[in-house]
Symmetry: C2
Subunit: 119 residues, 2 copies
Protein backbone atom coordinates (compact mmCIF):
# COMPACT_ATOMS: atom_id res chain seq x y z
CA UNK A 1 0.00 0.00 0.00
CA UNK A 2 1.75 3.19 -1.12
CA UNK A 3 0.73 6.71 -0.23
CA UNK A 4 0.31 8.97 -3.25
CA UNK A 5 2.50 12.05 -3.44
CA UNK A 6 0.91 15.44 -2.96
CA UNK A 7 1.06 16.11 -6.68
CA UNK A 8 -1.36 13.25 -7.35
CA UNK A 9 -3.49 13.59 -4.22
CA UNK A 10 -6.84 11.80 -4.46
CA UNK A 11 -8.37 14.30 -2.02
CA UNK A 12 -10.47 17.39 -2.66
CA UNK A 13 -9.14 19.72 0.02
CA UNK A 14 -9.73 23.24 1.26
CA UNK A 15 -13.42 23.48 0.33
CA UNK A 16 -15.53 25.77 2.54
CA UNK A 17 -19.11 24.69 3.34
CA UNK A 18 -21.77 25.11 2.30
CA UNK A 19 -21.27 23.44 -1.07
CA UNK A 20 -22.84 20.45 -2.83
CA UNK A 21 -21.82 16.83 -3.32
CA UNK A 22 -22.91 14.26 -5.91
CA UNK A 23 -22.36 10.83 -4.35
CA UNK A 24 -22.23 8.16 -7.07
CA UNK A 25 -21.91 4.59 -5.78
CA UNK A 26 -21.73 1.99 -8.52
CA UNK A 27 -21.04 -1.62 -9.42
CA UNK A 28 -19.09 -2.02 -12.65
CA UNK A 29 -19.64 -4.96 -14.96
CA UNK A 30 -16.75 -7.02 -16.23
CA UNK A 31 -16.09 -5.71 -19.73
CA UNK A 32 -14.31 -2.40 -20.25
CA UNK A 33 -16.20 -1.56 -23.49
CA UNK A 34 -14.78 1.95 -23.62
CA UNK A 35 -15.40 2.64 -19.95
CA UNK A 36 -11.91 3.77 -18.91
CA UNK A 37 -11.51 6.22 -21.77
CA UNK A 38 -14.95 7.70 -21.19
CA UNK A 39 -14.42 7.95 -17.43
CA UNK A 40 -11.19 9.88 -18.04
CA UNK A 41 -12.96 12.15 -20.51
CA UNK A 42 -15.83 12.82 -18.09
CA UNK A 43 -13.35 13.76 -15.34
CA UNK A 44 -11.59 16.13 -17.73
CA UNK A 45 -14.91 17.65 -18.85
CA UNK A 46 -16.29 17.97 -15.31
CA UNK A 47 -13.21 19.96 -14.26
CA UNK A 48 -14.05 22.49 -16.99
CA UNK A 49 -17.63 23.08 -15.84
CA UNK A 50 -18.73 26.20 -13.98
CA UNK A 51 -19.00 25.54 -10.26
CA UNK A 52 -16.89 22.36 -10.22
CA UNK A 53 -14.91 22.27 -6.94
CA UNK A 54 -13.27 18.84 -6.86
CA UNK A 55 -13.67 15.08 -7.07
CA UNK A 56 -12.71 12.00 -5.04
CA UNK A 57 -12.99 8.49 -6.46
CA UNK A 58 -12.01 4.93 -5.61
CA UNK A 59 -12.95 1.36 -6.61
CA UNK A 60 -12.15 -2.01 -5.07
CA UNK A 61 -11.09 -5.27 -6.73
CA UNK A 62 -14.74 -6.41 -6.95
CA UNK A 63 -15.60 -3.38 -9.09
CA UNK A 64 -17.56 -1.51 -6.43
CA UNK A 65 -16.78 2.18 -6.78
CA UNK A 66 -17.64 5.45 -5.09
CA UNK A 67 -17.09 8.79 -6.80
CA UNK A 68 -17.99 12.02 -5.03
CA UNK A 69 -17.87 15.26 -7.01
CA UNK A 70 -18.22 18.66 -5.33
CA UNK A 71 -20.04 21.67 -6.72
CA UNK A 72 -20.80 25.27 -5.83
CA UNK A 73 -24.58 24.95 -6.31
CA UNK A 74 -27.39 22.60 -7.40
CA UNK A 75 -27.75 24.75 -10.54
CA UNK A 76 -24.16 23.90 -11.51
CA UNK A 77 -24.93 20.20 -11.01
CA UNK A 78 -28.04 20.52 -13.18
CA UNK A 79 -26.08 22.23 -15.95
CA UNK A 80 -23.43 19.48 -15.96
CA UNK A 81 -26.20 16.91 -16.13
CA UNK A 82 -27.46 18.55 -19.35
CA UNK A 83 -24.03 18.51 -21.06
CA UNK A 84 -24.44 16.45 -24.26
CA UNK A 85 -21.32 14.32 -23.87
CA UNK A 86 -22.18 13.66 -20.23
CA UNK A 87 -25.72 12.64 -21.14
CA UNK A 88 -24.40 10.23 -23.73
CA UNK A 89 -21.91 8.76 -21.23
CA UNK A 90 -24.70 8.24 -18.68
CA UNK A 91 -26.75 6.38 -21.30
CA UNK A 92 -23.80 4.09 -22.06
CA UNK A 93 -23.35 3.58 -18.34
CA UNK A 94 -26.89 2.30 -17.95
CA UNK A 95 -26.63 0.16 -21.10
CA UNK A 96 -23.16 -1.34 -20.68
CA UNK A 97 -20.96 -0.40 -17.77
CA UNK A 98 -22.95 -0.51 -14.55
CA UNK A 99 -24.89 -3.39 -13.07
CA UNK A 100 -26.27 -1.07 -10.41
CA UNK A 101 -25.79 2.42 -9.07
CA UNK A 102 -27.14 4.95 -6.58
CA UNK A 103 -26.75 8.66 -7.20
CA UNK A 104 -27.37 11.17 -4.43
CA UNK A 105 -27.27 14.96 -4.43
CA UNK A 106 -26.44 16.41 -1.01
CA UNK A 107 -25.63 19.76 0.55
CA UNK A 108 -22.41 19.68 2.58
CA UNK A 109 -23.03 21.56 5.82
CA UNK A 110 -19.87 20.80 7.80
CA UNK A 111 -16.40 19.42 7.02
CA UNK A 112 -13.28 18.39 8.92
CA UNK A 113 -9.83 17.60 7.58
CA UNK A 114 -6.86 15.69 8.99
CA UNK A 115 -3.36 15.28 7.62
CA UNK A 116 -0.72 13.60 9.73
CA UNK A 117 2.23 15.78 8.88
CA UNK A 118 0.35 18.96 8.11
CA UNK A 119 1.12 22.28 9.75
Amino acid sequence: MSIPSASESPFATGLKPPYWAVIFTNQREGRDAGYAATADRMTELARQQPGFLGMESTRNAEGFGITVSYWRSPEDIAQWRLHAEHSDARRQGREQWYAQFELRVAKVERAYAFERNAG
Copy 2:
Protein backbone atom coordinates in the same frame (compact mmCIF):
# COMPACT_ATOMS: atom_id res chain seq x y z
CA MET B 1 -14.40 -8.55 -11.48
CA SER B 2 -17.33 -10.36 -9.93
CA ILE B 3 -20.69 -8.89 -9.03
CA PRO B 4 -21.71 -9.50 -5.42
CA SER B 5 -24.91 -11.42 -4.79
CA ALA B 6 -27.88 -9.57 -3.37
CA SER B 7 -27.28 -11.03 0.07
CA GLU B 8 -23.94 -9.24 0.30
CA SER B 9 -24.90 -6.10 -1.62
CA PRO B 10 -22.53 -3.19 -0.98
CA PHE B 11 -25.36 -0.71 -1.68
CA ALA B 12 -27.61 1.18 0.71
CA THR B 13 -30.90 1.06 -1.17
CA GLY B 14 -34.44 2.28 -0.76
CA LEU B 15 -33.66 5.37 1.34
CA LYS B 16 -36.10 8.27 0.96
CA PRO B 17 -34.71 11.84 1.03
CA PRO B 18 -34.25 13.94 2.98
CA TYR B 19 -31.71 12.11 5.12
CA TRP B 20 -28.06 12.75 6.04
CA ALA B 21 -24.74 11.42 4.79
CA VAL B 22 -21.32 11.31 6.43
CA ILE B 23 -18.76 11.19 3.62
CA PHE B 24 -15.42 9.91 4.94
CA THR B 25 -12.59 9.88 2.40
CA ASN B 26 -9.32 8.56 3.75
CA GLN B 27 -5.82 7.37 2.96
CA ARG B 28 -4.75 4.33 4.99
CA GLU B 29 -1.19 3.81 6.06
CA GLY B 30 0.63 0.56 5.45
CA ARG B 31 0.41 -1.30 8.76
CA ASP B 32 -2.84 -2.96 9.87
CA ALA B 33 -2.21 -2.37 13.60
CA GLY B 34 -5.69 -3.53 14.57
CA TYR B 35 -7.39 -1.54 11.84
CA ALA B 36 -9.44 -4.33 10.21
CA ALA B 37 -10.86 -5.63 13.48
CA THR B 38 -11.76 -2.13 14.66
CA ALA B 39 -13.31 -1.22 11.31
CA ASP B 40 -15.52 -4.31 11.50
CA ARG B 41 -16.49 -3.48 15.08
CA MET B 42 -17.35 0.12 14.15
CA THR B 43 -19.58 -1.09 11.31
CA GLU B 44 -21.33 -3.48 13.70
CA LEU B 45 -21.76 -0.73 16.32
CA ALA B 46 -22.94 1.88 13.82
CA ARG B 47 -25.69 -0.46 12.65
CA GLN B 48 -27.01 -0.57 16.22
CA GLN B 49 -27.24 3.22 16.62
CA PRO B 50 -30.55 5.11 16.52
CA GLY B 51 -31.09 6.70 13.13
CA PHE B 52 -28.55 4.58 11.23
CA LEU B 53 -29.90 3.98 7.70
CA GLY B 54 -27.06 2.28 5.81
CA MET B 55 -23.43 2.36 4.73
CA GLU B 56 -21.43 2.06 1.51
CA SER B 57 -17.66 1.58 1.53
CA THR B 58 -14.82 0.79 -0.86
CA ARG B 59 -11.03 1.08 -1.02
CA ASN B 60 -8.55 0.73 -3.87
CA ALA B 61 -5.19 -1.06 -3.99
CA GLU B 62 -3.38 2.16 -3.03
CA GLY B 63 -5.31 2.35 0.24
CA PHE B 64 -7.54 5.26 -0.74
CA GLY B 65 -11.00 4.62 0.69
CA ILE B 66 -14.41 6.23 0.71
CA THR B 67 -17.05 5.28 3.27
CA VAL B 68 -20.46 6.94 3.22
CA SER B 69 -22.84 6.30 6.10
CA TYR B 70 -26.46 7.42 6.03
CA TRP B 71 -28.46 8.78 8.97
CA ARG B 72 -31.93 10.03 9.78
CA SER B 73 -30.76 13.33 11.30
CA PRO B 74 -27.71 15.38 12.31
CA GLU B 75 -28.61 14.67 15.94
CA ASP B 76 -28.18 10.93 15.29
CA ILE B 77 -24.76 11.63 13.74
CA ALA B 78 -23.77 13.72 16.75
CA GLN B 79 -24.83 10.94 19.14
CA TRP B 80 -22.79 8.35 17.27
CA ARG B 81 -19.82 10.70 17.39
CA LEU B 82 -20.07 10.75 21.19
CA HIS B 83 -20.09 6.93 21.54
CA ALA B 84 -17.08 6.00 23.70
CA GLU B 85 -15.82 3.13 21.54
CA HIS B 86 -16.22 5.25 18.42
CA SER B 87 -14.32 8.14 19.99
CA ASP B 88 -11.48 5.80 20.90
CA ALA B 89 -11.41 4.35 17.37
CA ARG B 90 -11.22 7.85 15.89
CA ARG B 91 -8.28 8.68 18.13
CA GLN B 92 -6.47 5.52 16.97
CA GLY B 93 -7.31 6.47 13.40
CA ARG B 94 -5.56 9.81 13.75
CA GLU B 95 -2.61 8.27 15.59
CA GLN B 96 -2.00 5.13 13.55
CA TRP B 97 -4.25 4.25 10.64
CA TYR B 98 -4.82 7.28 8.45
CA ALA B 99 -2.26 9.47 6.74
CA GLN B 100 -5.03 11.87 5.74
CA PHE B 101 -8.79 12.13 5.70
CA GLU B 102 -11.67 14.45 4.93
CA LEU B 103 -15.00 14.08 6.72
CA ARG B 104 -18.10 15.82 5.45
CA VAL B 105 -21.63 15.94 6.83
CA ALA B 106 -24.24 16.53 4.15
CA LYS B 107 -28.01 16.56 3.75
CA VAL B 108 -29.19 14.32 0.92
CA GLU B 109 -31.86 16.22 -0.99
CA ARG B 110 -32.40 13.97 -4.03
CA ALA B 111 -31.55 10.39 -4.99
CA TYR B 112 -31.80 8.15 -8.05
CA ALA B 113 -31.28 4.39 -8.31
CA PHE B 114 -30.52 2.07 -11.22
CA GLU B 115 -30.37 -1.71 -11.32
CA ARG B 116 -29.99 -3.48 -14.64
CA ASN B 117 -32.31 -6.39 -14.07
CA ALA B 118 -34.64 -4.77 -11.56
CA GLY B 119 -38.40 -4.71 -11.95
